[in-house]
Symmetry: C2
Subunit: 394 residues, 2 copies
């Protein structure tokens, strides 16, 4: 017998949870994330969904029947470092629960319905967000991806087999349900909403190089200290984004040699930047890079900026969004943009008509142990997803 | 047969050397540093020096004979992370070479002479500089020290036995030879110099706490981002030290969760501060802490400052310094201050008359793979140390 939403949610709660913070460490191809993947296969089998995997670790559980093209729904099970419980798993659990709900209503879809789990959506291990969906759609080639390395130097090519994917061959529509990562639905008093677009987003590695030296004996004026160049750049990025109503974050840094009594030789830091338009993103990164270079000149250091990944603006299929938002009982669901990247954005960019459903998040906090959604809202989400799938598979 | 200076130097060159940077990783009680410690015992035995160890891992090789109080010389064999070859080992190798030189001259000291190696001088593993000499003098108690933990959480008490030390019981004078860590001797055109004093020095841990959140969806104005508070503090520390002619460095940082797409929940950074007087050090740390607190208020974050170690100003015995600087053939050696901490400072503060000899460093660079001294200058250093020991043991 398949479990209901709350039972499934309880299954996942302890997996990869850090006792100290209450946050989750479910990095791709590590034990907790593999445990979740195995759990997903069990849940598919318990529901007699046919399990199909690809060479990258992506999985779909198929409710076969009817004639294609198929309707796919799902999300991901990996987390950022010390992340929340909802980002990803809510979409997977809700998809399984929506199938249970459709079956309990006696729905017989006229098309195949699949529940998907894409690997490494967060990019927290190999650095490229939406890695699984990029590989499944061909947006990123395996030749490129297999050389990606994690922080310990492990190659992606040594972790998964790699090759090709046929998972999306017969997919006509994709629907991803996700916890909201802001407070738009709180402001609008709605339990669920529909995505209009995803802001363009890039990750840029800033390599600041200077000269290691003794922190005591080296006169301040004799230093080439890359930490100073970094510090000014982090403040500049924040200020520029604030002034322009965009987003810029330096949340990750690596320092060499990272010793208390040594001026660093190198500081590497990653800029996460997201803007309301592609042009605004280019402009923001340009101005931050220029300010970094100017400060490097003053500090006697050097800075090199490498775009590790850039995703253009994604506008979801407007007709589909309008239909999902309106074609059900009760008031329309609000249609809102998001600043977060999603596998749905990759599938949409690959030409698959795609929609996203959001579930209200009382604090708007995400990528944090404090991420939350009320059970009542989650159940509204399951019902909304079941309604949407039912209509799309008629 | 004991080796000469260059032969000994060649023995040490490959131990703990990183191929990529050419720097040294000789952290206390790790394989490379233990290899050096074993090498030192071999060298003592080859010279028929009686090896005495204490419960903390400090070692002295004794050239017994005559009546106490003894004259001790030596330095340390550990390095900072990715450090240079000279800081520490030069003093140990020069001490052994000086004994060879004294013996070749037929010197028979009227007092015992010891060659010492103190553990963890750099504080690069357990965070407390001059740990071995602090324990040997009782400046730090074992009850306190045994709870110190390295970055992996390993307790010092689980690495060394601990207890008491009798190594210094009969020591009347200490002389440490060290590579210079600035360019005073270059400016003065001298191969060797004598220390007048050590600047006061402190290490302060700054814990900046904020709120983890999604780097894309969280509006800039809704963030409590501790990275910003840190960045302003690093710039403020540099500016204050520059204006006051002192030293302040943030060279070590740890970020949680340190993910590209997450606003950090916590940034921990260490301030290394050194000043020409105790009052100036207190003043510098106060103003940096106040600026950090003011910025934290603006950022919605919090900052807590913890002094992990503070060493007051050390004035070496002025009569001994004058005697060492003048009582030899040729022109007097210059007497200069240093901003670097040394075991010599700890022994001096413990009431043991102490002197330091410096060997010229062409670039002044230290705590870096680029740290250097010419062999000719090193040999002048060996000769100066032998002369000094000979006069002190008459």
């Amino acid at each position: 017998m398949p479990d209901d939403f709350e039972r499934m949610w309880g299954d996942l709660a302890p997996v990869g949870r850090a006792v100290s913070s209450g946050g989750y460490f479910r990095q791709p191809f590590t034990t907790p994330e593999r445990e979740l993947a195995a759990w997903f296969v069990e849940q598919c089998e318990a529901r007699r969904l046919r399990v199909e995997t690809d060479a990258f670790g992506n999985v779909v559980g198929w409710w076969d029947g009817g004639a294609g093209p198929a309707v796919l729904t799902g999300s991901h099970l990996d987390s950022v470092l010390d992340g929340g419980a909802y980002d990803g798993p809510l979409g997977v659990v809700s998809a399984l629960a929506a199938i249970d709900l459709m079956r309990s209503r006696g729905v017989v879809p006229a098309r195949p319905v699949g529940v998907s789990v894409f690997v490494e959506e967060e990019g927290s291990r190999f650095g490229l967000a939406c890695l699984g969906s990029r590989l499944a759609t061909g947006a990123t080639s395996w030749e490129t991806a297999r050389e990606l390395r994690d922080r310990e130097g492990v190659r992606l090519g040594d972790v998964v087999e790699g090759g090709t994917s046929a998972l999306l061959a017969d997919v006509g529509t994709f629907v991803e349900l996700h916890v909201e990562q802001g407070r738009d639905l709180v402001d609008r008093g709605a339990a669920v909403g529909v995505a209009s677009k995803i802001w363009p987003h890039g990750r840029y590695r800033f390599d600041f190089t200077g000269s290691a030296n003794h922190a005591g004996t080296t006169r301040m004026e004799d230093r080439q200290d890359p930490m100073l160049t970094y510090a000014m750049t982090a403040l500049a990025a924040n200020k520029q984004a604030r002034l322009a109503g965009q987003r810029a974050t330096f949340g990750r840094i690596e320092v060499e040699p990272n010793g208390t009594n040594a001026v660093p030789s190198k500081v590497t830091a990653w800029l996460d930047a997201r803007c309301s338009s592609d042009d605004a993103l280019v402009g923001l990164v340009e101005v931050v890079s220029r300010q970094a270079a100017e400060r490097a000149e003053r500090d006697g250091t050097a800075v090199e900026v490498t775009a590790e990944s850039v995703s253009g603006s994604v506008a979801f299929d407007p007709d589909l969004a309008a239909r999902v938002a309106a074609d059900h009982e009760g008031p329309d669901w609000p249609v809102i943009p998001t600043q977060a990247g999603h596998d749905a954005g990759i599938l949409s960019a690959a030409g698959i008509p795609t929609a996203m459903l959001f579930v209200r998040n009382p604090t708007g906090v995400s990528h944090s142990p404090a991420e939350h959604a009320e059970v009542a809202d989650c159940l509204v989400g399951v019902s909304a997803l079941a309604d949407t799938l039912e209509r799309l598979t008629r």
